[in-house]
Each structure stands twice: as structure tokens, then as C-alpha cells.
Point group: C2
Chain length 457, copies 2
């Protein structure tokens, strides 16, 4: 590893000093993924320059590993002919990814490619990029059930393969998947005359071309699969999803959830312009801003009604409510991403959040009661003990409510087949901010009314 870092340092030194002619010999020593990392990290103005210093042979591998923005920078500078030469040598699924980004230009590039290669890519481009069809590769190895173990081994040897594969798929005359066997299981067979019909596992796990990529990740992790066959609607085997794509999907889905919770977008990892960041983040901040407007109105009412001392605690109640809600939402969103909940569990879960919120609310409510008594003391227009009680009860109610609402909102969105993460972060916080303040206001008004009744009676 330290070797790689030393080479990288030298390359960065050459980039800084514009010693371009030195770079190719360092590139030769690196894995395409490392070269891609260097180019990704370099400034936009030298992306194409660096890419052109790579040996032609590994350009396809490097291109497949680049960030979206770096890739776009380079493709913009290359001619259609250059791109078609590179794309031809890529795995069809990677080629489709590149051409998918190019939109209009992709038609001309496809026409420049050899018809066999372009045909495969054209087919892949029909699928939505977030579906199994969009991430699969049409290259797979399949055999018929009456082939023996020995024949299959020879058959694999006779193919000119250049992409890793781990499963030999068994298909019937119509090309429908009827079984699979892993390479190691095939090699393990001492009896080379046994047919695949006997050897292959018939309990295959597969997805249809239009399955969401999230489903792909869920199946692969659940059943520990290193690749997943993809079927069309006649159950014909049309492709497979490879390990690298499965790992990418797992990482991508996790990034998506994290960014959405924060009120942003995982495209930020790929694009580095502040304008892009503003475009993805600002809409979510507008929700917060709107909640802020509501809170300022409520705050004004407190002060207009001459219960100024209560207004000091508005930010605490908002912040505690918001954070409690986010903790609950996070649990549910991640739980939904990793597994799923049954109806019974759903009720158990809401009950659990209620208990958690109540317990935390009780503790925090007591602390804030003591604090308010200590801070405002006798300087308020309201008796200190009454103030402490009001603030404490409000925080308790707000936190209990926030825990349940924070859990309920993503569950509801999930039920409605919406992405539970998308609206949860800023939406949940903003709703809870407003609702927590309404609770505070409600509790305050009720207690004041009760008190005057008691005193009046």
C-alpha cells in the first residue's frame, strides 16, 4: 500500500510541476482504480490531459472508475471516434453507463461502434439506470442441463471470456433459467460424468429486469450472493448483476439515505460546484425556513401575551423535539433499508418509540424544569414553580410526541410507496419544530387557564 502512496505523491508532484512526460511511467505501475482516483482528485483543467497519458489498453478500465463529473469533463474533450474506440472495449454495462450520460451524442457514438458491441449496449440503454436491467451485464455463461461436469469445464475453457464470473447458469431450450452451480462446486465434483441436471441447484434466486436496484442489494446481502441472474418477463435469462455493481448499489443506497436525511443529495459526491450544492440543498432549507416563520409567529404571541419568561425556552423545546424525531426516523429508515417490518412489528415499534420518548422526555423535562427555575427565578411575572412545571411538562410532551411522529412519518411514506428517506430529514424536523411549539403553546395556555380557574375558584 505504501508503495502506491509513494507513486501517487510523485504523480501529484509531476502534475504540479507540469512534468507531463514523466507521468506515463508511473501510471504503468498503478491499478486502473488508482489512476482513476488520481484523475478524480486532480483539478478539472487537467482531467483530459491526464486521461490522454494513460495507455490506450487500460483507458476503458479507468473510464469505468471515474466520478461522474470527471467523466463528463473528459468525454466533452474527446471526439466521437475516440469515445467509440474506448467504449467498445468496455464491459457492456459500463459502456451503457457512459453512453447514458452522453444523451444526444450517444447515438452517433453507437453508430461508430462495431454492430455486435453496439447492439448489446443499445439493449441495455432501454432500461432505467436504477433497475436490475440498468445495472446488469448481458454477458453470462449458460449451459444446458444434459451437459456433464467435465463437458462444462471444457466448454468454459473454450469461451473467450474476459469478465469475472462465478456461476454457471443452467437454461432450458427456451433460455429460461432452471438452475445454477458455482464454479467451485463444479470443480469439487470428483465424478466428471455427472450431468448438470443432477449437480445444479434448482432453487435459484433471480430478479426481473425492472426490479429496483435496492431489491438487488437486499437479495444479494440476504442470501450472500456474489452475483444475481436477471430474467425478462418470459423468465428468459438475459443478464447478470456482477459483484462490483452489487457493492456499488449497497454503498449508493446508504449514501442516498444519509444525504436525504441531511436534506441534500448524493450527487454532491460527484459534482463539486457550489451552484450544484446550492441547488440540491436550498429547497430543503426552505422547509426549515418556513417552519422558522411559523415559530417566529408563535414566539411573538408569547411575548404579546406578556408571558415573556416562557419564550426563553422555545429554542430548547424546538431543538429537543427535532433531534428526538430525527433519532426515531433514522432507526426506521435504516431498518426499512436493511430489512422490512411486519404489521405486528410496526405496532411494537411505535410502542417502543413512545416508551423511549416518554422516558427521555421525563428525564429532560425534569432537568429543564430545574434549569428554568434557576434561570428565571422570581424575576418572572409567573411564579417560578409554575414556570418550571409548565416548561417541564411541555418538553416531556413534545419529546414523546416527536419520538412517535419521527417513527410514524417514514413508515407512512413507505406504506404509500414513497421513499421514506426523502422527506424525513428536514420535513420531519420542520413538522416537529412547529408541532412542538404548538404543544408548548397549548400546554402553557391550558395550565394558565387551569391556574386562573383554581385561583378564581
Amino acid at each position: 500500500m505504501s508503495d502506491i502512496n509513494r507513486i501517487k505523491e510523485r504523480i501529484n508532484f509531476c502534475i504540479k510541476g507540469e512534468l507531463w512526460e514523466q507521468i506515463p511511467k508511473f501510471f504503468e505501475e498503478l491499478h486502473p482504480a488508482d489512476i482513476a482516483e488520481i484523475i478524480n482528485h486532480a483539478s478539472g483543467s487537467v482531467h483530459t490531459k491526464l486521461f490522454e497519458l494513460i495507455e490506450d489498453e487500460i483507458k476503458p478500465d479507468v473510464l469505468a472508475e471515474l466520478d461522474d463529473q470527471t467523466e463528463a469533463d473528459i468525454l466533452e474533450d474527446l471526439s466521437d471516434e475516440e469515445i467509440s474506440d474506448i467504449v467498445e472495449e468496455m464491459a457492456p454495462d459500463d459502456a451503457a453507463d457512459v453512453l447514458g450520460e452522453l444523451e444526444e451524442r450517444s447515438k452517433e457514438i453507437l453508430d461508430l461502434m462495431e454492430s455486435e458491441d453496439s447492439e448489446e449496449v443499445r439493449e441495455l440503454l432501454q432500461y432505467h439506470e436504477d433497475t436490475a436491467g440498468g445495472i446488469m451485464t448481458p454477458d453470462f455463461v449458460a449451459a444446458s442441463a444434459n451437459m456433464t461436469a467435465g463437458e462444462s469445464i471444457d466448454y468454459i475453457g473454450s469461451l473467450d471470456l474476459d469478465e469475472p464470473f462465478y456461476y454457471l447458469y443452467v437454461v432450458d431450450a427456451e433460455g429460461r433459467l432452471t438452475g445454477w452451480i458455482q464454479l467451485w462446486e463444479l470443480l469439487k465434483q470428483a465424478n466428471r460424468n455427472q450431468t448438470l441436471d443432477v449437480l445444479a441447484d434448482k432453487e435459484t434466486i433471480s430478479v426481473h429486469t425492472d426490479a429496483d436496484q435496492e431489491e438487488v442489494a437486499r437479495l444479494a446481502t440476504k442470501y450472500d450472493l456474489s452475483s444475481l441472474p436477471v430474467l425478462d418477463w418470459q423468465n428468459k435469462l438475459v443478464g447478470r448483476i456482477t459483484m462490483d455493481d452489487i457493492m456499488d448499489v449497497i454503498e449508493e443506497e446508504a449514501s442516498e439515505d444519509i444525504f436525504k436525511l441531511a436534506g441534500s443529495d448524493d450527487s454532491e459526491l460527484d459534482y463539486s460546484s457550489p451552484l450544484h450544492a446550492v441547488k440540491t440543498r436550498l429547497p430543503w432549507l426552505m422547509i426549515t425556513l418556513f417552519a422558522g416563520f411559523v415559530s417566529s409567529v408563535i414566539l411573538k404571541r408569547f411575548i404579546d401575551h406578556h408571558i415573556v419568561a416562557l419564550s426563553f425556552f422555545v429554542p430548547i423545546i424546538m431543538a429537543m423535539g427535532g433531534n428526538t424525531g430525527i433519532q426515531s426516523s433514522t432507526l426506521i429508515i435504516r431498518g426499512l433499508a436493511v430489512g422490512s417490518f411486519s404489521d405486528q412489528e410496526l405496532f411494537k415499534l411505535l410502542g417502543r418509540e413512545l416508551a423511549t420518548g416518554a422516558l427521555m422526555g421525563l428525564i429532560c423535562g425534569m432537568i429543564i424544569g430545574v434549569w428554568s427555575h434557576f434561570m428565571v427565578g422570581s424575576s418572572s411575572e409567573i411564579p417560578a414553580i409554575f414556570l418550571a412545571f409548565t416548561v417541564g411538562v411541555s418538553l416531556f410532551s413534545a419529546m414523546m410526541f416527536a419520538a412517535v411522529f419521527g417513527a410514524f412519518a417514514p413508515l407512512l411514506l413507505n406504506r404509500a410507496n414513497a421513499d421514506p428517506a426523502v422527506a424525513s430529514g428536514p420535513f420531519v424536523t420542520a413538522s416537529i419544530d412547529i408541532l412542538a411549539l404548538l404543544i408548548y403553546y397549548g400546554v402553557t395556555v391550558t395550565l394558565i387557564a387551569l391556574r386562573s380557574n383554581l385561583l378564581g375558584g
Copy 2:
């Protein structure tokens, strides 16, 4: 898929009706991962009952897939003998995971196991569970460099393997890793007399036993590896990390980051008691509560100084600052998890966050200025235009600051070799809440001073 769901529904029906004798025949039709899912989702009181209905043969597979809490429930009810029988049949890395959870009891169980099996597990138990050593399996297939392709294929056939593997490792006489070849590449070789010395790829990628599991996930995704060899400090090959563990680590690391950002812990996915939730969440809420105390003091100062109208906007400025900060932190934390930043990029990044914060602050500052003018109007003790200007400038400054601070905090923690996610969520929000208010207070006081100077002059 729908078949599986129907079987699951029937099993759940049987559980509800306590028709235990019906369940085994349904279990027979399911994959161990699905049986584990059913038991995980069932209520704690029937966990052991359900586990005992599984065929002995697949108990090890099911146990390996259970949630931590479900596993603990079941292990508590089983005798040492029963556990040792099951654990003996598990892959050594899974067995070590189970025994690692049992602490004191593990000693007796290891003594009950066959010495060959227990020896492997004992060795694995020495490693920390979050390191390469802790997740590797000691089973791998290795050959010497002078073996031919044909001999290797026969050699693999002669082994009694029962765990998937994809790489044949090449080792020297001391057991040091000198190369690798994937099974499909081995099969592809038409010339079966070629030696591994020629065929194997010498540019292997490996980790040492004490490498962090995060490093394992990073290498696997970067180089698209389906498994990763693990070396000891003499560079001797001692194990490999399998695909399922790599996928688990990617998912686990992402969950960890998400939960930490929310001020919680990914153990919540495994443990369902409200007390556990309170224990993991409350400490983080205390940070928020403390920031709230500070904000209440500042708010009190506003009101004591008779600039009541300005206090209406305190919650907006806090919430906007906090959310802007979290957006920046999230980008950095996820960026650090997926890749890494060089020094140049670091400065570029902080500059970018500054620009993003400034731009968003400008927009939001203008909106809030208009809003404050509209809301407070002439009812305030301060001229409306002056109020609008003060609030707008404060929000602008707070958001610009929050964007930079939100990015800077995790980078600083990362530099100090601390986990950037751990303190970033509630810590960043709380710091920004306080600092945003101080900015607001500072801007207000400065502008008021300036104004009286101007008016006075």
C-alpha cells in the same frame, strides 16, 4: 418470491395459533436466511421454540443469520452441548462471532468441540471483531507456483470444500502470498500444462490481520474484489475475507455513520428495548439540551435589553444554522467514508462550502429580511428597515459560518484520527446553534452601536 411470502404468512399464522407441529414442513421449503428472518421478527418468547423446530442440519446456517438479540435469546436457552454441536458445523468465522458474544460460556463450549474445529475458532477469537482478523475465515485454497493449471483443477477437486471460494492463492514454501488466480481464469486456460507461476497475477491486494474493517470495505469496493486475502506480520497467508462479510461491512459502516449523525447507535437495529434506546440516544440529547440552555440565556439578554422584536427570529437562525451545518458535515463524512481527501482538495472543499454557505445565506437572508419587515412592521421599537437588515445579515453570516464549520469539524476529527461521524451530528448542531446565536447577538449589538453612532454623529 411471492411463494416465499405465502409460506411466511402461513408460518406466522401457525405461530399465532400455536400450531407448532405444522411449522417444520414449511421451514423445509425455505432458505436459512428466510427462516432467520421469521425468527428475528417473531416475539422474544417463541425464539427458542421456533429455533428448535428447524432441522439440525441447517441450524448452523440459520444461527449465523440471526440478529444479535435473537441469537442471544436462543443461546441463553440452549445447553453448552447443544451449542457446541451447532457451532462445530458453522464456518469458523461465523462460529467465532457466536462464541465472541457468549463471553464466559465460550470457554466451556470450546472445550466440548472437536479439537480441530475449536483450534481454528480459538485463533480467530484473538482478533478484535472489527478488524480483518476478526472477520476473516481461516479456510482458503492455496497452491505452490510450480503446480500446473491441470494439476490445480484436480487438486481443488480432491479437497472436501464446503464454503464458496473464488480465488486460488499462490504461496511460497513459507506460506507467503506471491500471487492469485481466479477460478474462471484458471478454467479459461486452454493449455492445462502452464504453471501457476506464469498464470497467476502477482499484483495481489491484501490486508494485515489488524486492518480496520473499514479499510477492507474500501479496498474491496475500490478494486472490485469478491474476496480479500489476509496476511500476518510475516506476510504469511492466514485467511481470507469472504464476499458476505464484505457486504456486511459496507452496510454496517454506512449504518454506523447514519446513526451517529442522528445521535444514536447502530446497535439499535439489533436491540429492541426502550431502555437500550434511551441509553444510546440520551447522551447526545444532553448536548442539545446544554446548547438549549445557552440559547435561553442569550434569548433572555435580548428581551432584557428591550430588543424583543429580534428575539422572534432566534429559532429561525438556530435552525437554519444547524441544518446548513449538517448538510456540510454529511458531505464530508460520507466523502471520507467512500474515499479520502488530499490536502489540496481539503482547501478546495472548504472554499466550496464557504461559497455554498454564502450563496444560500444571501438568498435566505433576503427572504427573512422581507419576512421580518412584513411580520413586525412598525410595531417594533426598532425601525422596520433596520430590523430587516439586522436579521438578514445575521442569517447570512450564521449560514456561511455554519457551512464552513460543518465541513471543518469532521475533517479536524479525521485528522486527529477520531471517527468523524461520531461527534458530528449533535455536536456540530449544538455548536452551530450556540455560535449562530452569538453571531446574531454580535451583529445586532454592532449594528445598534453603529446606528446610535451614526445618529449621534
